[in-house]
Subunit: 340 residues, 2 copies
């Protein structure tokens, strides 16, 4: 029922990356020049987001112009300011008399402890937006959207339950599926406390054991400071807070679809798509993960919300695995391709 | 790190079932005679709940006296009224001068299309509460808490993506795990649109194929009215709404723990435990599922929220599979044990 589809079939959206590979941070921007309905569900305990209040179904804004996924923790929110400038210059935004206010929502992940202490700034956000618009101007005839150590996934890592040096490099991934006329793509930067498994249940990236193999996360947990804390050795709350190595993580993703969804329906789809996080990442949605999913819907194809949710959930599960499989070793950490 | 623990080690709680096996409905009541912190996360699209507003962290009530899981769709909310009466007679409740108001929260599942058209009423709720208190009076020396076609799981079924006659009987299950001094049990009535798989990924109950074997849910979906809708044949929204056979489903569960959690932390744990639903049930959290998780915490053991969440999520995943494995054929539907 679900078959692969080209990302370019979602003609209402364009996507651009920008990053600093040495600093280990970057951002990925999805632009909807004509605006699109958007919803969000934030389920991690430590999020960094902007403009999510206007996404609440009861609030006024019905069309969003860009979704920004960014590294740099809360500092990375700056990238969205550059995206706003780039869009406003082109007249893309919410018109209020002579003013044009682009509606730019976003979420950030924590990558401050890899590479150099840098974060996506206004210039980087602008560049990613311009890359997105240039890809659209090219009519989708360029190379497929890059995956791995790119964009918001540039500094992404996974498997931080144990010692930081036993984590692995992760990255940015995407997948695009079709069910009849309905197309849904998932884009994600995978930066989790937990471990990642493929659709068959095989752990492909996460905490490495002494032999360098990816551990089952429950085994990794048993060897972590959290286990000592749970056993009553020491201050539980402090040990747990310290156990995550990098103290924040966060997997951030966006679903793009041609489906006709209201804001409320896009919110519901975002909520259901977190099931893909649960299936592909373990543990996930902890207090150390700011896990967030946006859904961006252009409204071209009539569709049942549940069909879109199932399609998008499947795409997101594939995108997470794809992001991990496309990652390359960096910052002293191996990637999935190195430990297979 | 996580090891099995007896349910009786959670001494702050007592649990009772009541049901009508012929009518195919029932309820399960957890009583905390001294009150316990409680949180909830409702993630399905079609819930039936009561008193969930007072569980919001900003609201006043800090101690809840009972959680009621019930069949009967929204009619089953009546069972909680009988629980209130039984508790108030015993002075269990929130004292306001001479008044005693038991704080009873609850959620219902849809089982109206199996057995007879009946629902848990005040008498059944009272009976379940009295069974719970009697179990406590017995000092936990009785038989272990029953699983399968009992309590809220009496009329539960799974695998309703396809034709109603290809669904399977499900039931009530529980599992209890320990990590150091922290104990978390999960109790659940599994009544899903989707299919259920065990920890190894094997589908154990759901939609049956022509040979009577449990299908992968994506294959089941491809053969369902939703697929025709997605392919553009007919009115998508109406087809999707009608595709679920029984038009509502809902998996309802409660985590019981001795951990010290605030209402806000219990809310967060409830949210994370939905990851167990995602891992064990597919699809889940659809518009046809009112999926709900309560967390009921007695406050005896200091614990990091994430440890409790991981422990409870693991217990819930086991409880879901246990509920399905303990189910027995009824109402013309086979159970997991019949198709192995």
């Amino acid at each position: 029922m679900f078959s692969p589809a080209p990302l370019e079939s979602l003609t209402a959206f364009c996507i651009g990356h920008a990053h600093d590979a040495q600093a280990g941070t970057g951002c990925t921007v999805v632009v909807a020049p004509e605006g699109a309905a958007c919803g969000v569900d934030v389920r991690g305990g430590g999020p960094a987001t902007r403009e999510t209040d206007l996404l609440r179904p009861e609030n006024m804004i019905e069309a969003v112009h860009a979704v920004v996924l960014s590294g740099g923790s809360a500092f990375g929110l700056e990238a969205s300011c550059g995206v706003m400038d780039a869009l406003a210059e082109r007249g893309i935004g919410f018109s209020l008399g002579d003013a044009c206010v682009p509606i730019v929502v976003g979420a950030c992940l924590f990558d401050l402890l890899v590479g150099a202490p840098a974060h996506p700034d206004k210039a980087m956000g602008r560049l990613a937006a311009e890359n997105a618009l240039a890809a659209r101007a090219g009519g989708g005839t360029g190379a497929p959207l890059a995956q791995g150590n790119v964009g918001a996934g540039c500094g992404a890592t996974v498997g931080k339950l144990g010692a930081p040096e036993r984590a692995m490099k992760s990255g940015f991934g995407w997948a695009c599926l079709r069910a009849g006329d309905v197309v849904a793509a998932a884009l994600v930067a995978v930066n989790a406390l937990g471990c990642v498994r493929d659709g068959d249940g095989t752990w492909v990236a996460g905490v490495r054991d002494g032999a360098g193999k990816v551990m089952d996360p429950l085994a990794a947990l048993a060897a972590s400071p959290l286990a000592a804390a749970a056993a009553g050795a020491g201050d539980v709350a402090n040990a747990a807070a310290g156990a995550a190595g990098p103290c924040e993580n966060t997997t951030i993703g966006v679903v793009l679809t041609n489906a006709q969804l209201t804001k409320a329906q896009a919110t519901k789809v975002s909520s259901t798509v977190h099931d893909a996080y649960a299936r592909a990442i373990k543990p996930v949605h902890t207090q150390n993960d700011g896990d967030t999913v946006f859904t961006f819907a252009s409204g071209d194809a009539p569709a049942a919300t549940d069909v879109v949710a199932m399609l998008a959930t499947e795409a997101m599960q594939q995108a997470i695995v794809s992001g991990v499989r496309h990652a390359e070793a960096a910052f002293g950490l191996p990637a999935a391709r190195d430990v297979a």
